[in-house]
């Protein structure tokens, strides 16, 4: 089994002097600062020699006091070993620039685009460094830099000014006005790049092609995003995706909130998976604090998180099936009704139905209520028989088969290369599950299978989700049998200020791999929180998947991803 220290010594021997600074946190976590000239070679070495074939994402950090910026590349492996390497590359704050990893990892593209638009770090060799989440007006303001003043006035941070017109109407003036920018009285340096529309038009090569809008309010993924397809006849030749319609800047907001207040923001990244977001944030902070979670609290967390997975899969599947003709409409109603039962179970513990703010540093907010186990024993067997019925129902519906089978198929290699995770990747047959990869909570003691599919098509993705519900029920049943009595919170009070440090923590969200990279500088607020969301990664795979398919299948493909633009736009 490869360990972090082995990986480190391998890099050191292959590239003497490339590792500037390093820290082996545990067998599974390696932190290393790599010479910016060698980063590409180091990554190549890691992927070829140590099967770091999973580029998990990257984070940009603005170290304004040290006058430098940092890009942290998060690398892992698809099951060969469990080491996560956090490779840092430093660059000066003036004209920050690092080498792009897009040549090595296809899915680095979106992460680097995001860092570029938010922090202004240039990526040398990136083929399409265009804005992804921000509107064009904000490009050049680098809003996530620590010295960002504010919006809409980028120079002073002045807010919209309310003015009353002579007729008595209220109008808002957004400084600086376009006229002012034009006249050059305010200096707003904007990088040059083709706009989204121009990029689309560039792709049109003949008169028989046209651009078709699917979105921003299309029902195939709840939440707004723009999907434009370039079609020739019924075939999609190229797809264009634009997000950022509901970008909330949660990562930046959290920098201005206390550690505890941050929990409430994690709820709102993806409201159907609020509990795993809570878990991810709190887990990272427990790592920084070195807090041990009491056994009972760990079990409670596992129980509610698995319940949350069930309800998320139910709504994800149900909602999607309404878009697919045939058997589609009936299960939606049943699934949503069954989901209410699960949500009521969660509510009886957490006190809220969707945004739970339940997990706390080193514990949980409430204990299980009286009679919770009995209630579960009523609901879970029912849920189990219902899920089995659903699986059977879909297996025999010819229309469902025609619309779903071999539609949007992903091969295991493509799935790995594209960096998707969760049910989408597992449907291709790759058993990659954070609950097995990262030994968090009591998951290592529990018996459960990682559900995988065989074809990686839309039908398989639904099937994996439904069978995961059965597995979650199995996990909860074990937890209820084993849960010990005891405290649910740490004995000592959690301090208001965290010691300086950093942590990367991963959980298996209903949609896949969710990681949070949290940096503390010893203050009362986080210095940086980076959320590596699962759907952001999956979303990126949508455009290549759509190429060459029929327009009518776009819905089946996009919908079966079980998307949540709210989380990719976090």
């Amino acid at each position: 089994m490869t360990t972090a220290s082995e990986v480190l010594s391998s890099i050191q021997s292959a590239f003497p002097g490339a590792v500037i600074d390093s820290r082996v946190e545990s067998d599974l976590r390696l932190w290393a600062t790599i010479d910016s000239k060698k980063i590409l070679d180091v990554c190549k070495h890691l992927s070829s020699k140590h099967s770091f074939d999973h580029y998990s994402g990257s984070a940009g950090v603005d170290w304004i006091a040290r006058n430098e910026m940092e890009v942290v590349e998060i690398m892992a492996s698809h099951g060969t070993h469990k080491v996560v390497a956090m490779l840092k590359v430093k660059t000066p704050r003036e004209n920050p620039s690092v080498k792009s990893l897009t040549g090595l990892y296809w899915n680095a593209s979106w992460y680097e685009r995001e860092i570029w638009e938010m922090l202004g770090i240039n990526f040398e060799g990136h083929p399409e460094l265009y804005p992804l989440l921000l509107s064009d007006g904000l490009i050049g303001a680098w809003p996530w830099r620590k010295d960002f003043k504010g919006y809409p006035d980028l120079t002073t941070g002045e807010r919209a000014v309310e003015i009353t017109t002579p007729d008595g109407y209220t109008e808002y003036r957004f400084p600086p006005t376009p006229a002012e920018v034009e006249a050059g009285t305010v200096v707003v340096e904007r990088p040059k790049y083709p706009t989204f529309q121009e990029r689309e038009e560039m792709a049109i090569t003949s008169d028989s092609e046209m651009i078709m809008h699917l979105g921003p309010q299309h029902a195939m993924v709840p939440g707004p995003f723009l999907l434009d397809v370039l079609v020739e006849g019924e075939r999609v030749k190229k797809a264009f995706l634009d997000l950022g319609y509901i970008h909330k800047g949660i990562e930046k907001i959290m920098e201005n909130r206390s550690w505890l207040q941050g929990i409430t923001y994690t709820d709102r990244m993806c409201y159907v998976a609020a509990l795993s977001n809570n878990e991810c944030y709190c887990g990272a902070i427990e790592n920084i604090l070195g807090l041990e979670v009491p056994q009972r609290a760990q079990y409670i967390r596992v129980i509610v998180e698995e319940l949350s997975r069930i309800q998320s899969h139910l709504i994800g599947t149900g909602e999607f099936l309404t878009l697919i003709a045939g058997v589609g409409f009936a299960p939606w109603q049943y699934m949503i009704m069954d989901r209410e039962k699960i949500i009521s179970l969660i509510e009886s513990v957490t006190g809220a139905r969707l945004t739970h703010s339940f997990v706390r540093f080193g514990g949980v907010r409430n204990d299980l209520p009286e009679g919770f186990a009995e209630q579960c024993k009523k609901v879970l067997p029912y849920m189990k028989s219902r899920t089995e019925e659903f699986i059977e129902l879909f297996a025999q519906d010819p229309i469902y088969h025609a619309r779903m089978e071999n539609i949007g198929s992903i091969s295991p290699e493509t799935g790995k290369r594209m960096g998707c995770s969760g049910p989408v990747l597992r449907a291709t047959g790759v058993a990659y599950d954070m609950r097995k990869e990262d030994p968090i909570l009591v998951y290592p003691d529990l018996d459960f299978k990682v559900i995988t599919g065989t074809r990686g098509d839309s039908a398989d993705r639904i099937d994996v989700r439904l069978r995961e519900i059965l597995e979650s029920i199995h996990i909860i049943e074990q937890c209820l049998d084993r849960i010990p009595s005891g405290p649910i919170k740490p004995e000592a009070k959690v301090p208001k200020k965290l010691p300086a440090g950093e942590a990367y923590y991963r959980v298996e969200d209903p949609r896949g791999e969710m990681g949070m990279y949290v940096i503390s500088d010893g203050g009362a607020n986080p210095y940086r929180v980076k959320v590596r969301g699962p759907f952001y990664a999956t979303f990126q795979t949508l455009t290549p998947l759509l190429e060459g398919t029929y327009i009518a299948d776009a819905v089946a493909i996009a919908g079966s991803m079980d998307g949540c633009p709210s989380e990719s736009d976090r």
């Binding site: 909130r257 206390s258 505890l260 207040q261 929990i263 409430t264 923001y265 709820d267 009521s344 509510e347 009886s348 513990v349 957490t350 006190g351 809220a352 945004t355 703010s357 706390r360 907010r365 409430n366 209520p369």
Partner: protein, 199 residues
């Protein structure tokens, strides 16, 4: 026949409109049973709130404002400041409840809070308080607070006088002056809570 029908068309809505009817029907028609852990509208035990403002500071949405309220305990809450919550902004996260040092803020099972205007859903301590003192109890408590404050002041004075006497003995000018300053400070510190108690 038709005429009668037409008249009915008018009279029926009139009849309905003048009767007390539900304007919006509840759906599901029966309100579901809420669990004990439900995080609904806050409940304040005004008899033990100490007015520390921790809840106001921790609230991520800044929806809590500390306002004056009569029916609390002047013994514990010297300035008689109690939380007022803007439910238009509250997201029912429960952080205020968790951080309250004396556990006087709870969340209950009441969840309906609609109002016609924005200010209707800003609820003061009077609405939130599930436990409060009557006017008479407050008056008694105030008297008690005054008495205690007076007693304390007297005790302090006596102690200070003693200290001053002790300090005077060595007969050093500087020390006596320093003592005098300290005494003034102590007196000022005492005067403050008294004012608060009376307010």
């Amino acid at each position: 026949m038709l005429k009668r029908k037409m008249i009915k068309n008018f009279s029926w809505p009139l009849k309905i409109a003048t009767q007390e009817i539900e304007i919006t029907r509840l759906y599901p028609e029966k309100m579901m049973e809420l669990p004990a852990a439900e995080r609904g509208i806050h409940e304040l035990d005004a008899t033990i709130c100490i007015g520390c403002g921790t809840c106001a500071r921790i609230c991520p949405n800044s929806c809590i404002e500390m306002v004056h309220y009569k029916f609390g305990s002047p013994l514990k809450n010297k300035k008689m400041q109690f939380p007022q919550i803007d439910f238009g902004r509250c997201m029912f996260c429960g952080l205020c409840v968790d951080e309250c040092p004396v556990e006087c803020l709870k969340m209950g099972k009441k969840v309906i809070m609609a109002g016609w205007e924005r200010k209707d859903i800003v609820k003061g301590p009077d609405f939130l308080a599930t436990k409060k003192f009557s006017a008479k109890e407050v008056a008694d408590l105030e008297a008690e607070a005054k008495r205690i404050a007076a007693e304390k002041a007297a005790a302090k004075k006596a102690a200070d006088a003693k200290k001053a006497a002790v300090a005077k003995k060595p007969g050093k000018e500087g020390e006596a002056a320093a003592n005098g300053a300290a005494k003034k400070k102590a007196a000022a510190a005492e005067a403050k809570p008294k004012e608060g108690g009376a307010a």
